[in-house]
């Protein structure tokens, strides 16, 4: 299999971009990636574009998004397709782009993920994401992703004795990182006193899906991110001299039951575990080799459960890692250095691409002051589709 390098990265700020058009924000991130790779004038070396988006058809009444994007950044006649895998569309698009290069079909691809969700009301946005649930057995009941996040959190807390205070500590840590990330939706730090235990904490941090509170949930965000990948053995690598190439050393994904109630143990995130095992095997690495990670946390409880499923520590052991500060930016294994979905935001189609943007930035040593991981070698990202029914793990490494 051919080696694949990330040679360009681009991002928009995440937040409320509803005054822009979906393809505009995606093409802005794509143009940023062209500039980062220093190939704006030589952009026609890109042979294929994979676009990640979940809701263009539903939220923006827009289809044919991949073709539109290619035209907006003058990339014709590059091939172009849309990849949709719910909130894991981004990482799935990277996986498909990686496979296109690794197979020998093409040498240079662009991956762009984007979502424009704030053009509708908060409830309409939540309802749109809920359309990925089983129509008869879940969606019909007004069940939503936050509802499953709440049920998961309660089951986890009851089984492993995790306390609300410990969940709040994770939120504080993520906001601390997000406050230093210029692309984050929420660039405001929060304090423990503000969201837990004080007189007004229950007002600031109100219940959304009991036991999860506002600071246990990601915001609804617009935004886009983009990557350019190239085959390491391709003569086209000569175009990419400006930035250090970062390797995609492992990719794995797996599916689990559509209905959450079909899982023998609803706390077991099988697709996370299996996807990570495949990624580790491809990279020839183990969890101990990982320097930092971006883990999909639309609900803060998932940062903990995913960190356990990918093998960083045993099930139910996250609270020990929180207490020791292991996952903080200066800890042994920093998690969600970007602020995670919690603070950076979660434009669903963009998220997986944004996670790998962050891995690349950290591995190049380009993260902003106060959130650069010390000498990282390998970063791992988990992009979680559905309520864990289609999950992609990507490992990036310094050469």
């Amino acid at each position: 299999m051919r080696k694949v390098a990330i040679v360009g990265i681009g991002h928009t700020i995440f937040g409320n971009l509803s005054k822009f058009d979906l393809v505009d924000i995606m093409s802005f991130a794509s143009a940023n990636a062209l500039d980062d790779a220093d190939i704006r004038k030589d952009r026609k070396i890109i042979e294929q574009v994979f676009v990640a988006n979940m809701g263009g058809g539903i939220l923006n009444h827009q289809t044919g998004i991949a073709s539109s994007l290619v035209s907006r950044i003058d990339l014709e006649p590059a091939m172009a397709e849309l990849v949709e895998n719910g909130p894991a569309s981004g990482a799935s698009a990277i996986k498909v782009g990686f496979a296109a290069i690794a197979s020998g079909m093409v040498d240079v691809v662009m991956i762009t993920g984007g979502e424009l969700m704030r053009t509708v009301t908060g409830w309409q946005g939540t309802d749109f994401v809920a359309t990925l649930l089983h129509p008869e057995a879940e969606y019909n009941y007004e069940l939503t992703l936050p509802a499953f996040g709440g049920m998961f959190a309660r089951m986890y807390m009851e089984r492993y004795g995790l306390k609300e205070e410990e969940l709040a500590m994770v939120a504080v840590k993520d906001h601390e990182n997000g406050a230093k990330n210029p692309y984050a939706h929420v660039q405001i730090p929060c304090t423990m006193e503000g969201i837990y235990g004080s007189e007004n904490a229950h007002i600031v941090n109100n219940l959304i899906a009991d036991p999860l509170r506002l600071y246990g949930m990601c915001p609804v965000s617009d935004g886009a991110a983009s990557l350019i990948l190239c085959a390491v053995d391709s003569p086209k690598m000569k175009y990419f001299k400006k930035k250090e190439p970062i390797m995609i050393s492992g990719i794995g994904s797996a599916t689990d039951t559509h209905c959450v109630h079909h899982r023998k143990d609803p706390l077991e995130l099988k697709a996370v575990r299996l996807g990570a095992e495949k990624a580790y095997a491809m990279a020839g690495l183990t969890p101990k080799d990982i320097s930092f990670a971006e883990l999909h946390d639309p609900f803060i409880i998932l940062e903990l459960a995913i960190s356990e499923e990918v093998g960083f520590w045993g099930r139910g052991k996250s609270k020990e890692a929180i207490a020791k500060g292991v996952t903080r930016i200066d800890g042994k294994l920093p998690i969600n250095t970007s602020g995670g979905l919690k603070a950076k935001g979660h434009p669903v189609g963009a998220t997986g691409v944004s996670q790998v943007f962050e891995l690349t930035k950290q591995l190049r040593g380009e993260a902003e002051k106060g959130r650069q991981v010390k000498s990282p070698k390998h970063g791992l990202a988990v992009n979680f589709g559905g309520f864990g029914n289609n999950v992609v793990t990507i490992i990036c490494s310094k050469e």
Binding site: H134, Y141, T144, M151, M155, A209, D210, H261
Partner: protein, 132 residues
């Protein structure tokens, strides 16, 4: 003669589906039996139809949440949802009718309107405290 039967009130029920080959029950209906790989045909014309088995009765609460962010049109402060396990081992998600559930408690199944669509009420599981 115009047939108005489709407009008459239907008895609200939720069904599990029984594989005709091996008897395995599943909910919601699969297209292939997870035990013996027999096929289900929703039309019943190509492969044999699967028997519908009424799903309900007593069940055990496995996990629950109160959701405060509700769809437009709800007057309630919150809705309570849960995942339950029936006596036959099948599980389902649904609405809970009590304010203070407890994981592991025994519940009784009811069928009620769980979503109102234009021109159509959607019936589904509602779980309540068992009658004494």
């Amino acid at each position: 003669m115009i047939d108005f039967s489709e407009y008459s009130p239907k008895k609200p029920e939720v069904y599990a589906y029984k594989c005709p080959e091996c008897g395995t029950l599943d909910y919601p209906a699969p297209m292939i039996c997870k035990n013996c790989s027999a096929r289900r045909d929703p039309s019943g014309e190509i492969f044999s139809a699967w028997e519908k088995v009424l799903l309900g009765g007593r069940c055990k609460l496995l996990g629950w949440t109160r959701v405060y962010a509700l769809p437009e049109g709800y007057d309630e402060k919150y809705l309570v949802f849960g995942i339950v396990e029936f006596k036959n081992g099948l599980r389902a998600s649904g609405r809970l009718l009590m304010d203070n559930p407890r994981t592991g408690m025994e519940l009784e199944t009811k069928i009620g309107i769980v979503r109102e669509k234009v021109g159509e009420d959607v019936y589904g599981f509602m779980f309540d405290l068992p009658k004494k």
